[in-house]
Structure formats: structure tokens, C-alpha cells
Subunit: 404 residues, 2 copies
């Protein structure tokens, strides 16, 4: 039995780097960017007016001119004009290019306009540089604006669009097969016999993977039948990039998976981790065309399965896709907790921000690792290290939010 | 000019409640549940073994029996067995129903099994109730497990699947039209003239709406042409449930939108909010078949536009869809800040969890509300109230994370 930290390291060390592909920017949200993006020109690309008002030469104002003849109008989207003389001004709209020879925009609220002339009312608003979003002040041509590894979210879309990236290089999405095992499982829309339960793990895992940006998922169910398991696993090892199995990996008589996976050439890296829930966690890799692919065999209990997905599988996939690691979330434990077995404890908890800015995690009592109802009231789990048995209220620990 | 709080209240008060629709559970993630979900039977539906081991009557153990003849095997997914006598045991697998007359499961690690007999090695593991996830201990038949208003995420999927909800009632998704306006805007894949910029607002807004669960979006661009704007807005008011406009709503000569919206019968609720960025924010509603629909006209500057989406539009849509309001996020300001104008300040900031569990927001310097490059380095914005001019390091304020 190995520690959580050892298991995490073995998994992460086994993950190489996925290939790249090109996607349309409109489809890029959630993908991992695999190229640095540079500005294709200075931004803003011209001295841009930030107000509706008039553009003047501030020197004329300093030398006493208060009223300027309006020579024309600068509109957003129109080519740059030029001031004909210092006694004149150009009416200018927000987003329009500042005319040559002008160095200041006075906003409409600070003007009186009549008979084709504009009079400046507020002298403080007529200084050089006022009302101008200066050429190149956001970035210079060639400057790196986004780094490879970032997850593309709406704000990255805005940057990429503004520099003309209609398509972007991203990590290829792995094909993920999710296999729920167990004779006791029946379809969601059926009425189970008293000894049966409905299949929920595969749909839950698929939904969580999709929500985390891993959208290429297939779901299967296998009965506890060694030849069916062997045949299906064999096929999946040919076609899929990741296998995530739920159930059938402990020491039960019908836990055929560990043996099947070995028979099929999957290289077992570990089984049994000193954690609760999720002790029977099994991890291995298989080779295809000289590349390594991961197999995660998660415990079948829904809480164990969901917890292990967040603690191990999602970070592993993130590394595989070369995603810049997320910053660790920490939370303050809100209840004195004692736990004696020498195991790391993953404790589902409700989380909130206190109005003084602390992130707080309150464990929700739950029955067993089969009790998913209690977990649905939580926001993630707090991880209590195995080296200790008592955990005080107010102490801070790592917190893993559920994907939502 | 009204305050942020007044604007928020006017918007939220204008939002009614969207209708409902039925979706497949596998497609329900991100939707707002519109029915309470009850357990259709006790969960677990039987006394469920939590170990691989043997099921015994603990009374026999207390009375001295240590070795039990194995009468058979209880498998997950098989009907419940019954102990033939107190001298016997049933081999049992995790997830299998506890046999009648048995009240305890001793796990395989605490047993010696040979010649069809199992001997209990650890007396502490043979107490009544040990190793059993008791019938009905997670919930009772008829108990409400999920409440209407919850956003369906993977953990709600798990609950719904386990109680047989293959389809669920959710809020109807509104059809949202996003319209970027401005002659200066050119397509992302074009090479702009020096006075032009690429369209990014509409794609950014659409991506953010999609990421927030609002997946039915259409994007358009309109030039600053009053008759084109009038004709398009008129059509959209017939076909769409929400109009989000970006740009063309300030006091510029070519800001035709406010007038067009009024001409088209949109009831203006307010324009101008005492905030930076985003002062020109315009909001109204229109009627169709006796229902009210919202029109948000956001400022065209990308930072203003993105900020107003998060501060006003997303909470409004959440209320419309009857989504239970999210808990407010708070963060500790990490930099002494002074701001004198009597405006609420939305300050884009980098956010992190300190290792003692505080959520911290560090403002990122930025140029103007046109500077989207700086915003791409932030995680959201901190809201500094307009009643004050000085904000100390370490003080806590509301924080709005960007959708990602």
C-alpha cells in the first residue's frame, strides 16, 4: 500500500504529452492552448479616443484658446484625420483615431457647442494626453500575450480574437472510455429488484469529465463475466486513449479486472493507496505505437470513484494535455475532526467564503463511501493528511472542489 | 445616473420566471432543475456489505463460535440469501445483500479460510452492524434529495441516476442574440486597416454565456447604420428571448441604439450607472405575447462589456431560470487603493488562496476599459463601493470571478 503522494507522483510521472491539433477559435473554449500567441500589431493600433467630445492641440489651450471651430468629425472605423490649424478642433467619437496634430480629447460633458464652434468649460480636462488610449500602450507588436498551457476561457478568446487568431493550436482531446462493472447494476430507466442498484458511476464520471473539458467520452457497462470483460478491454485498448473503470478491482471473488488488465498487457504501476475512501485504486499503463496510455481502475463505491476522479484522474489528464497546473485551493476546516487509521482522509465538505475573505470547509456527515446523497450537498473534499489523527477547527488544508 | 445596487435591483425585479422543459439526464448538466426529486425507495435498498468477507450472526460469535462453515456465496447483484444456522456463514462480496439472520460482515483480511471453513482472527471485527451499509441509512423512500433551483452538476447527476430519473424537468434555455455594433469592427480572420479593430466582444460574450450554461446563442454584427440597426433589432425582438448589444449606446453621434430601441417599443428602465467601467449601461424590456423579455445594451469597450456581463446579465439570467442564487464570493484586497470619483469601481484582479485559507485579490494595473490584454491576466473583479475613496490592503470586498 502506497501513500497518496506516492500514488500521485507515479501517475503524473507516467503521463507524457498529448499531440496537438488546430481548432476554430469559436470552438476553442476549454481546450489547452499549445502555442504562444503574439500581438500582430501594437494595441491599440492608433491613438484611440476614450470619449465622445473634441480633439484639440493642448498647446493652443495653454496659450489661451478656449473656443475652437469644428472642422469635421472623426468616427470610429474611419481613417485618421488631421487638425488643419490650432484654432480648430475635430469632433470625435469614442473609439475613433485621434487626428494628427491633436494630443487631447475634451469630453462632451465639458463643452458648450454652438454655431459650429466648441468652447471648453473645464480647464482641467484639456491637458496633453487626456482622453486618449495611447497607441501601443496595451502591448507592442510581437509581445507574447498568451502562453502555451493556458486553458482557453472567454477572456483568452477575447485576446486571441483581437490579434486575428481565427484558429488556434490546442492539445488533442483524448478518447476516454468509461466502463462501469458489476452484475448488480441496472439501467437508470429501469425498476431495480431489491438487490439491484441503478448505474450512476459512468454517467457521473462522463459528466464530470465533460465539465472539465474532456468531451470525447464513451460509456459502457460490463457484467462480472471474465470472458466479456477480457474481450471488451482488449478492444478498448486498441481504440481508446484512456480507460477509466469503475468497480471490480478489490479482493472479491468476482473482481476480475486486475487479472484481466495484466493478461491484456497493461503494466500495473500500483494497487492499494493509504486513503479513505478509495483504498483499492489501481493504476497502470499500456503501450500502443510506442506511446503510453493510462488505465485508471477506480473503486466502484460512488463516493470513492468520484473522489479518485478529482484527486488523480483529472490532474493526470491535465498534465497529459500540457495544461498549466491550477493553483492549489486551501480551506479552513470548520469542525474539529479525529481520524485514527493511518490513512489520508478525503472528507466531503460544504464550502463558503466568510465575509472576511476566508474560504471555509464544513464536513458533511456521511455514512459510507456508498452514500452519494450526502456528497450531493457538498462542494468538494478537504484532504486530511495521514500523519496526524487530530485536526482542529480553523486549521487550513488542501481542498479539491468538485467539477461543476 | 443610478447606483450599482439600484441598477441590479431594477434588472432583477424585471425578470420573471422562464418556462420548463424535459431533458434527458445525460444532457442535463448545467441546466437548472425545476422539480424536487424524491427517493423512489430506501437507499441503500438492502443491508449492503461494505467488505469482501463473510456474513455471520454476531450472537454466535459472542457465544464462542470462531469457525464457521461456508454455506454459499452472496454476490453483488444476486438475490438475498439466508443463513441456514448460526454455525454457518455466507461468503459475501462488497455490494452484496446481507443474508437474512446475519448481522455482521467480517472482512477477508481478518479471516483464515480453509477446507470450506472461515475462522475469525480479529474479535473486534465481529460486532453487530460491522461492515454493513444499512438499509435506508442514506435516505428513506419519499425523501427529497434535490430541490428545484439547483444547477445540475455531476454530483446531482449521480443522485438523479440512482433514483431512476432518466429525464428531468429543467428551465427552458432562452434564445440569446448577441449583437456587436460599430463600423470600426472587422472579422477576426481579416487584416485590419490601422483605424480598424477586430470583433471580439460578440465571441467573448457568447463563449462566456455558453460556459455559464446558456448555450443557445446567436452572434451578429451591425454597422453604425440606423436603418440596418432598426430592421435587425425589429426582427430579433420577434424571434429572440434576450438581446445583448455591445457598443453604440453612449452619447456619440453614431450611437443609434438608444433611440432605435425606444422606437421599437423597448421600455427603457435605465441608462447610466455610477460605475467604472461600464457607465453607459442601458437596460430595458420588451413584451411579446404578454411576457417580458430583457434587452441589455452594454458599453462597447471590451472590459466594460465583460464586466457588465458578469455583474448584471448572468445574475439576471440566473434569476429568470429560477436558479438558486450562488453564494457571494469575498476576497481580501491585496493592494492599498485610492479612487476618488463617486463611482463604484470594478477592479480586475488576480485571485489566489493563501495557504492559511484566505482568498486574496491583487488588482492588475490596466490602461483603460479598452485594455483587454491586462484583463486576460486576471481571475475576476473586486467591487469597491462608491461611498468610499480609500481601500486598505487586507480589507474584504465582494469578488466576481470570470466564468471559465
Amino acid at each position: 500500500m502506497i501513500s497518496v503522494e506516492e500514488a500521485e507522483k507515479i501517475i503524473l510521472d507516467s503521463m507524457g504529452t498529448m499531440g496537438k491539433t488546430e481548432v476554430e477559435l469559436a470552438q476553442a473554449s476549454g481546450h489547452v492552448l499549445r502555442e504562444d500567441l503574439q500581438a500582430d500589431r501594437d494595441l491599440p493600433p492608433f491613438n484611440r479616443s476614450t470619449f465622445d467630445g473634441i480633439a484639440i492641440a493642448s498647446k493652443a489651450f495653454r496659450e489661451g484658446t478656449r473656443t475652437f471651430a469644428i472642422q469635421g468629425t472623426a468616427l470610429a472605423g474611419s481613417p485618421r484625420l488631421s487638425l488643419d490649424s490650432r484654432e480648430q478642433c475635430v469632433e470625435i467619437m469614442t473609439g475613433a483615431p485621434l487626428p494628427d496634430e491633436a494630443d487631447c480629447v475634451v469630453k462632451i460633458e465639458d463643452l458648450k457647442i454652438e454655431n459650429g464652434k466648441a468652447t471648453v468649460l473645464d480647464p482641467d480636462q484639456a491637458e496633453s494626453g487626456h482622453g486618449i488610449h495611447e497607441l501601443g500602450s496595451d502591448c507592442s507588436k510581437g509581445e507574447t500575450l498568451l502562453k502555451a498551457g493556458v486553458t482557453i476561457s472567454p477572456k483568452e478568446i477575447a485576446v486571441a480574437a483581437s490579434i486575428g487568431k481565427a484558429t488556434v493550436q490546442v492539445s488533442t482531446m483524448p478518447r476516454i472510455a468509461i466502463i462501469a462493472t458489476g452484475d448488480e447494476l441496472v439501467p437508470v430507466d429501469s425498476v431495480p429488484e431489491p438487490h439491484q442498484i441503478r448505474r450512476s458511476n459512468d454517467l457521473t464520471l462522463a459528466t464530470a469529465l465533460n465539465a472539465a473539458g474532456y468531451t470525447s467520452t464513451t460509456r459502457l457497462h460490463l457484467d462480472d463475466d471474465p470472458s466479456e470483460i477480457e474481450a471488451t478491454v482488449s478492444k478498448l485498448l486498441e481504440s481508446e486513449d484512456v480507460l477509466i473503470l469503475a468497480g471490480g478491482i478489490s479482493k472479491g471473488k468476482r473482481d476480475y479486472l486486475p487479472e484481466t488488465l495484466l493478461n491484456q498487457g497493461v503494466d500495473r504501476k500500483f494497487q492499494w493507496v493509504s486513503q479513505r475512501p478509495g483504498k483499492p485504486l489501481w493504476f497502470g499503463t499500456f503501450q500502443r505505437e510506442h506511446h503510453d496510455f493510462p488505465v485508471f481502475a477506480l473503486p466502484g463505491n460512488p463516493v470513492s470513484c468520484f473522489t479518485c476522479l478529482h484527486r488523480y484522474v483529472l490532474p493526470a489528464l491535465d498534465k497529459w494535455l500540457a495544461r498549466t497546473p491550477k493553483a492549489q485551493t486551501y480551506a479552513q476546516l470548520q469542525e474539529e475532526t479525529a481520524f485514527h487509521p493511518p490513512l489520508s482522509l478525503f472528507l466531503p465538505a460544504f464550502a463558503n467564503f466568510s465575509s472576511d475573505g476566508a474560504y471555509q470547509a464544513t464536513p458533511v456527515p456521511f455514512n459510507t463511501s456508498g452514500d452519494f446523497i450526502s456528497v450531493s450537498k457538498t462542494d468538494g473534499f478537504i484532504e486530511l493528511p495521514k500523519e496526524r489523527t487530530h485536526f482542529s477547527k480553523g486549521q487550513t488544508f488542501k481542498f479539491y472542489p468538485w467539477v461543476s
